[in-house]
Subunit: 203 residues, 2 copies
């Protein structure tokens, strides 16, 4: 009896994992409003009626998806920005190149989960909006730390406001990911990347 | 009999206008997926069953909304960028200030129609995606013309690529409008505006 329960718990955890993975795909391709739970359940091969056995609500499900997405994204960002073998400039370039590869890999269909959810602000539950905001501010803080280090190393002008520079990066980033998908070309990301790096770092 | 028909046509045109206006509000606040035609019809006080008397399809309706939005936006942009009494820098500032006022006026609820629709790419009809792309490229061209003029006047570095600069502006713009709504504060727009102007124009 106990063994059955343990097995059931393992199954449940495995299916939750699958649902989260499928949820990330669905939410980066479409948005909160367009994504049906039915579709996600179907892709994992679980009866649609059993959703609430795995997650208590759609909102909680999306909260977990965003948390998962953020762990990966934020980890990937630090992987490049904190690499001791790369300058700040090189780290940012490496991060952007990796992100571009991902966008191409998914044929320009997947955008940024944070960008997608932000566009749906007026229809999202309030707690979710706050979570989106915090995730983005977290990325901004990571970049700011990296820029401040570069500033100390003399790679960035002394008087520059690194918080403002980091904020501008994520605005340009979200906008150019959006435009890159729209144009089915990495040109907007390349344009913004070149512009940003040339503006921030000493020649 | 003919007089009745004329009156009916005037009514029809007037109601089409009202529906377009209500459609702009709905689509800038929410998105294509979340907007119900019922809601729009209700806001104008027209029976929901009569939608197809005014527009042949939801897609055509959105096409007309975007066209209308673009006329206003693009006109407003040129109003500032082509003002002979303003330098390019001052024109961009005036445009941004006006846009910020609008965002505050609608309590951060209304975003950019182009940004909203772009996030829904994968669920939009193909012709509509192309229209969104063309509208954005049109704004980019308007700004590029203005920057090229400033470059000739010596306000922008000779070697700068004005197309790339214009592209970067709209990426940063779309991203910072999105973040300004998310944070319920104009800080992201202010940050990006300051960063952009300081990077593009000679000190």
């Amino acid at each position: 009896m106990r063994k059955t329960k343990v097995l059931r718990d393992i199954d449940r955890a495995a299916i939750r994992e699958e649902l989260l993975k499928s949820g990330v795909a669905a939410l980066t391709e479409k948005g909160f409003a367009s994504v049906g739970l039915d579709e996600i359940m179907r892709s994992v091969g679980v009866p649609k009626g059993s959703f609430y056995y795995y997650f208590e609500s759609k909102e909680y499900f999306v909260t977990r998806i965003l948390q998962r997405y953020n762990e990966r994204f934020s980890g990937g960002l630090d992987f490049y920005l904190k690499d001791e073998n790369l300058s700040a400039r090189q780290g940012i370039i490496a991060f952007m190149e990796k992100a571009k590869k991902n966008i191409i890999k998914y044929d320009y269909k997947r955008g940024c989960l944070v960008g997608n959810l932000s566009q749906e602000l007026n229809t999202l539950p309030g707690a979710l909006s706050m979570q989106v905001r915090e995730v983005l501010l977290g990325w901004q803080k990571q970049l700011q730390t990296c820029l401040e280090k570069a500033q100390k190393a003399g790679e960035i002008e002394k008087g520059a406001d690194c918080q403002q520079l980091a904020s501008s990066f994520w605005s340009g980033w979200e906008g150019s990911v959006l435009r890159t998908r729209l144009e089915h070309s990495t040109t907007p990301l390349d344009d913004f990347g070149r512009f940003y790096l040339a503006s921030v770092f000493h020649k």
